[in-house]
Amino acid sequence: MEPALVENARAGDRAAFDSLVRSRIDAMYRTSLAVLGDEADAADAVQETFISAWRHCSELRDPDLFDAWLGRINLNACRAQLRHRGRQRVREVRLPDPDDGRETASTDPALDERTAGAGVFDRAFARLSVDDRAVLVLHHLEERPVAEIAKVLGPPEGTIKSRLHRARAALESALAKESR
């Protein structure tokens, strides 16, 4: 079913590509959000990803690598968003949404502590490169095998393992700086 959709999308079948979009947009948005930490940026990255994928779909040689290919496009889109972030004239401010499950400021001391911890983490995470963020998200959040991460990020598996170590060390260092 999926390979057929990818094949059809490669041949220019827009309905097939739409099906691929629908089945992947949620996961892609969450990955983007974890990497970027900003809903609007994540949404833009998702949109850019699918646009680019549709433009270049016919160049995809192996349908089995569609998800890895899409993941790589998505990370490039995240990288672009990160660069744009420093140039935004107006930053969108996220208002608390009682239904979105996120921590918000409260009078509960325990919750405040957690929120403060989240702030430290987010600031530390923002110090990392997109590649470091991506490898941590793909491994620790999405629990993807190293072989699959390698397909998304490009380098061989051995390099991915060392990148995981390096990214983790960079995060620890950033956390230490943000906690001072």
Binding site: G12, D26, L33, F50, C57, V146
Partner: protein, 586 residues
């Protein structure tokens, strides 16, 4: 189950899960679908190539483009350049080229592909000329013959009306064809280029900035290198670099933003604002196109556009917008070839040609010669002598005396020794419309090539530029395709005249942006065959389609065409199509 080297960290996982929690934004799926609708159909889902062309196509895309680049470099910087160079005073910071200066420039040594320049001219808006599949036609430069085509890139606004007069930033695509980077909003004083610290025009305007383009490293790295994008609408991102335009080789204000950007929380600032003596700009794509190293600030006059309509993908559906300054090109350092005092004859009517003899230069021919021309009077074809042989000196002298402007810029096949050019001294008789005899035109002293068959380009001043030596078969002058395929002596780079059919094109380079690295700005792959079946030799068209694609002629989407073609070979099955050749007719 994940049993990798680094175990899953539950604390880290919970933090990341928190970051990624929440609902998919309402309307995102609809937005994506809407944005996909806006993607041009031609950019997606292109039909796959017929298998028979795949081999030659891929080889041609890679090697043919490389050859084309080599050819462009070779002929752009020849050892033999015609005439002394003269840089127009004040260009480009204070004034643009005039249309006639542009015409003179094109009559000299060939421009390198993607050369950017600025010209003050009137464009006749016409859609019925200069067919090209990659770019739609804007029109032609008013009052210039042979015509100079202007093509439209993806940058709004489109020019409309019947004529538009102004200052235009252009990129050279090939064969008297330019792509429009934009209509320039000049500086509000005697200059046309703004300084880095001047107020820059907003709202999608295109303008020039005289300053330094530099870049700072960013704390991000690239999985893949940045893409150039379309040459007329280059991609903005430079991935790991933050580009700036400054009035000096340094930009302290940018560096301060950079430091803030790397920290947390991130500092917001107006992305269009002046940061000390510089502004943040996006120059990733043009750096690749113009070959600018991000590690070294470079001075020049840059074509800049206020990119206010959308974010990086230029999507109309992006509601927030992503204001930025997008650098489109660096204007080339140009020099104009000074016209020769003895070879600037005004074009004369063909009917005044006095018969000259061939091959002797100084003796009359029994019959007048006529150039192969298309119905609209353009000069689209390379030249052979009558009877499909090299052009003789006598034929050339006769043609030159009749209509030098019609020869300017053409490629011709001649037999050596090749003189440096021709001059005609009997100006008065041409100007008065009375017959001019061949004795008035004679080869200039000196030779630029010895015995042999040569491919030359004809300058407006009557001087030749050597493109290369022609390789000929053991018997005769023209290769059949079977001879090319079977030849063991042909090698990479050889120029050959090939008799064959040129079949329909395959737009392999219309996938972008970004364009595949093998693609030139409008490269096409065609197939040459011994008949109208798809076999024989794959050829990368390059600028060829511009040369033959004129009104009344075969166009790139037309039927197979039979003829003699000048091909620069990559090997015996792949080559670059330089020009279609036609004989002058007695």
């Amino acid at each position: 189950m994940n049993d990798e080297l680094v175990p899953i960290d539950s604390d880290l996982r919970s933090q990341l899960a928190r970051r990624s929690a929440g609902r998919l934004p309402e309307g995102l799926l609809v937005d994506v679908t809407y944005a996909l609708d806006a993607v041009p159909v031609s950019a997606a889902g292109l039909p796959r190539l017929r298998p028979v062309w795949r081999g030659p196509r891929l080889a041609a895309a890679g090697l043919g483009a490389a050859l084309l680049a080599v050819l462009v470099v070779a002929i752009a910087f020849p050892a033999l350049r015609g005439g002394p160079a003269a840089v127009p005073a004040g260009y480009p910071a204070n004034r643009a080229l005039t249309a006639s200066e542009l015409n003179s420039l094109l009559a000299g040594p060939p421009l390198a592909t993607n050369t950017a320049l600025v010209v003050s001219a009137t464009i006749d808006i016409r859609m019925d000329v200069c067919p090209m599949n990659r770019y739609p036609t804007v029109g032609v430069i008013h009052g210039i013959e042979p015509q100079i085509c202007v093509m439209q890139g993806g940058l709004p606004p489109l020019l409309t009306g019947t004529t538009t007069t102004g200052i235009f930033a252009l990129r050279y695509l090939g064969a008297r064809t330019f792509g429009l980077l934009g209509q320039v909003t000049p500086a509000p004083d005697s200059r046309i280029a703004l300084g880095a610290t001047d107020d820059w025009p907003l709202a999608g305007q295109t303008f020039l900035v005289n300053g330094w383009l530099g870049a700072d490293d960013l704390p991000v790295s690239c999985v893949s290198p940045p893409a150039a994008g379309d040459v007329l609408s280059p991609a903005g991102e430079d991935c790991a670099y933050d580009d700036w335009l400054s009035d000096a080789p340094t930009a302290e204000g940018i560096a301060a933003d950079h430091a803030a950007y790397a920290g947390s929380p991130q500092t917001s600032y107006d992305p269009l604002s002046l940061r000390g003596n510089a502004r943040h700009v996006e120059a990733g794509g043009m750096r690749i196109i113009d070959g600018l190293d991000p590690h070294t600030p470079v001075h020049g006059v840059f074509v800049v556009r206020s990119q206010a309509e959308a974010c990086s993908g230029a999507l109309a559906v992006d509601s927030r917008g992503c204001p930025a300054w997008r650098v489109l090109a660096r204007l080339a350092d140009l020099s104009l070839t000074a016209p020769s005092a003895v070879a600037t004859l005004p074009p004369g009517p063909t009917s005044t040609i006095e018969p000259v003899t061939t091959p002797a230069v100084h003796a009359p021919s029994p019959t007048p010669l006529a150039l192969p021309t298309s119905s609209d009077g353009a000069a689209p074809l390379g030249l052979l002598g009558s009877g499909n042989r090299p052009l003789t000196e006598g034929e050339f002298a006769s043609l030159w005396a009749a209509d030098p402007a019609h020869l300017s810029g053409r490629i011709a096949i001649v037999k050596g020794p090749v003189p440096t050019g021709f001059e005609c001294s009997d100006v008065g008789s041409v100007a008065s419309g009375s017959p001019i005899s061949a004795p008035g035109c004679h080869p200039l002293e000196g030779q630029i090539a010895p015995e042999g068959y040569w491919v030359v380009k004809i300058g407006a001043d009557g001087k030749f530029t050597i493109v290369g030596e022609l390789t000929v078969p053991s018997t005769g002058f023209v290769f059949t395709l079977d001879q090319v395929n079977a030849a063991t002596t042909l090698k990479r780079g050889d120029l050959a005249v090939v008799d064959g059919w040129l079949l329909e094109h395959v737009p392999t380079c219309d996938y972008g942006p970004p364009l595949p690295s093998a693609c030139g700005p409008f490269s096409e792959i065609a197939s040459m065959a011994t008949d109208n079946s798809p076999s024989g030799i794959g050829v990368q068209q390059g600028a060829y389609q511009q040369i033959i694609g004129v009104a009344g002629e075969w166009t790139i989407d037309g039927p197979p065409v039979h003829g003699l073609f000048l091909v620069q070979l990559t090997n015996t099955t792949v080559g670059t199509l330089v020009v279609r050749l036609e004989a002058v007719t007695p």
